[in-house]
């Protein structure tokens, strides 16, 4: 080893030692603050993604007036009294005003909601622009007859306790997709406790797998 080389090697070793020691002191303090910033940002963004984001994602709309499902079920007996099947097997969905008028030609009770219904819709022969919580995308074919009549399923399995409700909850619409919040479900994590908590394709597949041992083919629903 030449003198010069030795010199260079020694000096670099010395420099390294000094540099490392210095960095250790500086690095400790820098990392500490970085970690604090990291944790702070993590917590803020995690919480806003969880709690604030759904509030921004969904806009709320009120139904034209409140509808008391519990009262109607008591009076009419069951769901199918109003949500009936047509002769050809297709499902009527929300009844048109002609069916309501069979009882509500005039106001029966004294609630504000019924007054709105009778004065604004019945008297003007106008259909009520209900916002449908469980409306599926247009690309989905769904037959109520196959499930309710064919598989003898209960309405509650997919629609939950709507028949017990006394007021109409606000309709929440996804600003990006335009779909009702009920399709994804109330829980933003997608965690469900009941079969009716969400109505996504995976939910259909889950039940189909359980009941028919197959998730089903694409074209069964996407015609």
């Amino acid at each position: 080893m030449s003198e010069i080389e030795e010199k260079i090697e020694n000096s670099s070793v010395n420099d390294d030692k000094v540099g490392l020691a210095q960095e250790n002191i500086k690095g400790d303090s820098g990392l500490g603050l970085g970690v604090i910033f990291f944790i702070l940002a993590f917590v803020v963004f995690f919480l806003s993604g969880w709690l604030l984001f759904p509030k921004l994602l969904y806009s709320k709309k009120q139904q034209p007036f409140n509808f008391n499902h519990r009262l109607h079920v008591q009076e009419m007996g069951d769901c199918e009294s109003c949500h009936s099947f047509r002769e050809d097997g297709s499902f009527t969905g929300i009844p048109q005003i002609g069916m309501c008028v069979e009882c509500h030609e005039e106001q029966l009770g004294d609630t504000k909601d019924e007054e709105i219904f009778v004065t604004q819709y019945v008297e003007n022969e106008k259909e009520v622009p209900w916002l449908i919580y469980s409306r599926q995308p247009d690309c989905v074919f769904f037959s109520h007859a196959a499930h309710v009549i064919g598989a003898n399923m209960d309405c509650k399995t997919c629609h939950g306790d709507i028949g017990e409700s006394t007021i109409s909850k606000p309709y929440e619409v996804n600003r990006i997709t335009g779909y009702s919040r009920d399709i994804w479900g109330k829980n933003i994590w997608g965690i469900k406790k009941h079969s009716w908590d969400s109505m996504k394709m995976d939910d259909c597949a889950e039940c189909h797998l359980k009941e028919t041992q197959s998730k089903g083919a694409c074209f069964q629903c996407h015609k």
């Binding site: 603050l33 940002a41 993590f42 917590v43 995690f46 933003i188 994590w189």
Partner: protein, 539 residues
């Protein structure tokens, strides 16, 4: 502690990690993928209650029963009506696309008046008032007999109302566009001496000899013919198509005979000659019903000998003999004529020559042959009130002329041969021979009122257009179903709310009659066309 680059890195990483483990990232991914599947500008048909409503299609002479599928009351599809005579659930491509006519861009959207080279919108009241003024002026000048009307057919209440209007105004010049049915009726009258419609029992025939009929291309009752054609193989029915062109019918036939254009009658007479010479005709029928059979036999022998027919038609002798033999030996053969869709009058000589073949084999009023049916009369009109002008006019006006001779006369005459023309559901400038001459004649008529739903070749020459509802928007009695072994009367009813400012032609006539006042208005006592239809329809 100093805020440095690493602190910012920590902040950024923390934000990214926080966001990543929050549900928003995954939810946004799902939402954005759904968004791309549902572009907001993609039109999506509205969902709703499905209902079906029945009516009769009047796009052609088939007059099939149709069923219209509606969603929330909006028609979305036309289907064939099950159990309806003739089409029984079937439908043709034209019928399926019938809904397109509702929104056709060439529809006349409101009453129009011609100003120079352009059209201007006008209200119904003013349009009808102007027509009434012009007609009154012509009547006052003692020229009521120079008012004419052309419609698509003579049967039915709409045509009845037009004829009645013309009569009360003072003219007999009521014309219907000529179709093969007219020529067939003339043939039946000349040969059998009866006023009858020809009903072709193709369904039960085992040998169809067609002289250029577009059997599966819209001739007669198209859907009925499709069904007959598709069951031909099963039943063993032969179809021989004599036509210069390889049409769809020719391509589907068991045998296609490409003949020199315009020589069909000669071939028919030639076949008749062979049937007679070879003693293949129905002797019982001929001895019972014919008068001068020997004269006829001599005539065809002399004029239509096989050599001559071969030279005229360009068809080989063997082929002619084969057709004649097969036709005569079939158990229920039928010879049909009426070129293409049968929408033009065709040649009287040709149809007569073809019908002679049916007569020779005696397959008249028999299963699988030609049935002669008396036109059904189901409308009962009360008598009309006519004032002096009307009486004189009707006496003076021409009668028994055809549409083609009317246009010839218009072109020949230096003074206006016709002062005013009403035209409804007819397009002579397109469908008749020599359209240039027809156009010239149309230009010579001083005042033309069109009741057309569309801006067509003839309506272009109108001075005022009083546009009609299309068939899906109106009530009308539909007669016809030509080419079938049954006579059917159908009722068409409105299934679509009128899209434009149009009227039922019946209502337009009533409005015009009222505006003409006096005895004319008295002759049209109905509140509207629906009431008129109810009153005069007595079945």
């Amino acid at each position: 502690m100093k805020v440095d680059r690493r602190s910012f890195l920590g902040l950024g990483l923390g934000a990214a990690a926080g966001m990543a483990v929050s549900p928003s990232t995954w939810k946004l991914m799902d939402d954005s993928s759904i968004w791309t599947q549902n572009w907001p500008w993609t039109p999506v048909p509205k969902d709703g209650e499905v209902t079906f409503d029945n009516t009769v299609c009047s796009l052609c002479s088939g007059n099939c029963g149709i069923s219209i599928r509606k969603i929330n009351g909006r028609p979305v599809k036309i289907e064939g009506r099950h159990g309806y005579p003739g089409n029984d659930g079937g439908i043709c491509l034209h019928g399926i696309s019938g809904l397109q006519y509702v929104y056709d861009s060439s529809r006349v959207k409101s009453p129009l008046i011609k100003k120079g080279d352009t059209w201007e919108k006008i209200s119904w009241e003013n349009a009808v008032k102007l027509v009434a003024q012009e007609i009154t002026k012509i009547r006052n000048n003692s020229k009521a007999d120079k008012i004419a009307c052309i419609t698509d057919k003579k049967q039915g209440t709409i045509s009845g109302l037009f004829e009645r209007l013309l009569k009360t105004i003072g003219s007999n010049n009521f014309f219907a566009m000529e179709s093969m049915e007219h020529t067939w009726m003339t043939t039946l009258e000349k040969i059998h001496g009866i006023n009858a419609l020809p009903d072709f029992d193709l369904e039960n025939s085992d040998f169809i000899l067609s002289f250029g009929c577009g059997f599966i291309e819209g001739w007669g009752s198209p859907v009925n013919n499709f069904k007959i054609n598709s069951s031909r193989k099963e039943k063993g029915t032969q179809l021989v198509q004599i036509e210069p062109r390889l049409s769809n019918t020719a391509a589907n036939a068991d045998m296609w005979i490409p003949i020199k254009p315009g020589t069909e009658a000669d071939l028919a007479f030639g076949i008749a000659n062979i049937i007679i010479t070879d003693n293949l005709y129905n002797k019982t029928y001929i001895s019972k019903f014919s008068k001068n059979f020997n004269n006829f036999a001599e005539m065809v022998k002399e004029k239509y000998s096989i050599e001559k027919v071969v030279a005229i038609t360009g068809i080989k002798e063997l082929t002619i003999r084969k057709i004649a033999g097969d036709f005569a030996k079939a158990s229920s053969p039928i010879a049909i004529a009426g070129k293409g869709r049968g929408e033009t009058a065709g040649s009287f000589r040709e149809i007569t020559a073809v019908h002679v073949l049916n007569c020779l084999l005696g397959n008249i009023n028999k299963n699988g042959g030609i049935w002669t049916s008396t036109p059904i009369v189901y409308d009962k009109w009360q008598s009309v009130e006519m004032d002096d002008i009307a009486l004189k006019g009707v006496e003076k006006s021409l009668n028994n002329q055809s549409v083609s001779s009317l246009f010839t006369n218009i072109n020949l005459s230096s003074n206006p041969f016709i002062e005013a023309l009403f035209i409804y559901n007819a397009n002579p400038c397109f469908s008749m021979r020599n359209t240039k001459a027809i156009q010239k004649a149309m230009e010579k008529i001083p005042f033309v009122v069109s009741f057309s739903s569309y801006m067509d070749e003839t309506t272009k020459y109108a001075d005022i257009i009083l546009p009609s509802h299309i068939f899906l928007e109106r009530y009308e009695d539909i007669t016809g179903s030509s080419g079938m072994a049954k006579s059917i009367i159908g009722l068409s009813k409105p299934l679509v709310k009128p899209v434009f400012d149009t009227k039922n032609p019946g209502d337009s006539i009533l409005m015009l009659a009222n505006a003409l006042k006096g005895s004319i208005a008295v002759s049209f006592p109905w509140e509207n066309y629906k009431e008129c239809l109810k009153n005069i329809f007595f079945f």
